[in-house]
């Protein structure tokens, strides 16, 4: 009787443990955006390749007045957003939350951060530099970039983030506070409202899952 109980207990624990590890390794983040598939024949068998939506290549001027491009983010997971230094509304909260992620992954070269300024008139590289310093960004892992209006607003569309120059909005620009999670192939894997604590918590969890996938 006693042995039976022990045995059942042991089994239950083994079951629970396997359940746990399963759910951990199996959890994968979705790919956001339209997919297309191509069929090809390999060794006489037809296989289907999925082509996930990919953010196009880009090139912008950073806080040190140096051009950086998508090549600098190749094989890195990065979190990107749209803001401006004079933004009185959602940006400070969004940047305060992104700063927490930065601090957790500081010096982890697998992870990078990319903030685009949508105030192409005021936010010159030196303004961005001063902002980054004051925010507490001390290395190159977090890039702050500016560019031509059409390029910045254009790339925002590709990340599915709404941005618009709008005189009636606080500070003159209207935009969403999304933190967008991108994998090493520039596929969009998640988008989180950077002003919502619950969603920021989810970002922390999803980033850990994505890092596992890249191993």
């Amino acid at each position: 009787m006693r042995n039976n109980l022990l045995c059942a207990f042991g089994l239950a624990i083994a079951f629970l443990a396997s359940g746990c590890s399963d759910s951990k390794t199996n959890k994968r983040l979705p790919h956001i955006g339209n997919h297309s598939t191509t069929e090809k024949v390999v060794d006489g068998k037809t296989v289907i390749d999925t082509n996930y939506y990919q953010v196009p290549e880009f090139r912008f001027l950073n806080q040190d007045s140096v051009y950086i491009s998508s090549a600098d983010f190749a094989d890195k997971i990065y979190i990107t957003n749209f803001f401006f230094t004079h933004c009185p509304s959602i940006c400070p909260t969004m940047q305060r939350n992104l700063l927490q992620v930065y601090e957790k992954y500081k010096d982890d070269n697998r992870v990078a951060f990319l903030s685009h300024s949508i105030d192409f008139k005021y936010d010159s590289p030196s303004v961005l530099k001063s902002y980054a310093d004051k925010l507490g960004v001390t290395n190159q892992q977090w890039q702050f970039v500016t560019g031509e209006k059409k390029d910045i607003y254009g790339i925002a569309d590709h990340y599915y983030v709404y941005t618009k120059e709008d005189e009636s909005a606080p500070g003159g620009y209207d935009h969403q506070g999304y933190l967008v999670l991108i994998d090493g192939q520039r596929h969009i894997r998640g988008a989180y409202d950077g002003t919502n604590d619950e969603q920021v918590k989810q970002l922390f969890e999803d980033l850990a899952i994505l890092l596992e996938e890249n191993k």
Binding site: H86, I90, P92, L135
Partner: protein, 143 residues
């Protein structure tokens, strides 16, 4: 008769609960507490983005609102800061800040009184209401 005794006992219970609640904040009047409650709502809308939910500020960009010395020494300037903004270099909690704070001109004197009562009693160590009269007087003397 029974009903009456019932009502009386409920009233006395309520009264003692209220007594306990207020004795926890021995120095804050009901008016001050009310101002602070209203002020918190306005704070969330107009100030929290930059200054944080606990008035902690953000890096060297936005100063904290928890420096009691600063708040006490500049008490008569606070209304002007809220209404007209602030720029130039200032020292708060031992750090230098130099970022522009935009003014919020649409706030009325009573809104400002609510907000400053909340800030000075919750983050600072004040125990009194930042009154509308105080706001109006300060606004008359803005630089």
């Amino acid at each position: 008769m029974i009903n009456r005794a019932h009502t009386l006992s409920i009233i006395s219970i309520l009264f003692s609960v209220l007594m306990i609640v207020f004795s926890c904040q021995p120095n804050v009047s009901i008016e001050t507490a009310q101002y602070a409650v209203n002020g918190q709502k306005l704070y969330v809308t107009h100030c929290q983005n930059c200054h944080g939910a606990k008035g902690e500020g953000l890096g060297n960009l936005y100063p904290p609102l928890t420096d009691t010395n600063f708040l006490n020494q500049n008490r008569d300037k606070l209304a002007c800061i809220v209404k007209n903004g602030l720029s130039g270099s200032i020292e708060v909690s031992g750090k230098i800040y130099d970022t522009e704070m935009p003014g919020i001109p649409e706030l009325t004197p009573v809104d400002i009184a609510y907000i400053l009562t909340y800030v000075t009693t919750s983050f600072g160590n004040s125990t009194t209401t930042y009154t509308q009269e105080e706001v109006k007087k300060s606004l008359g003397e803005c630089l």
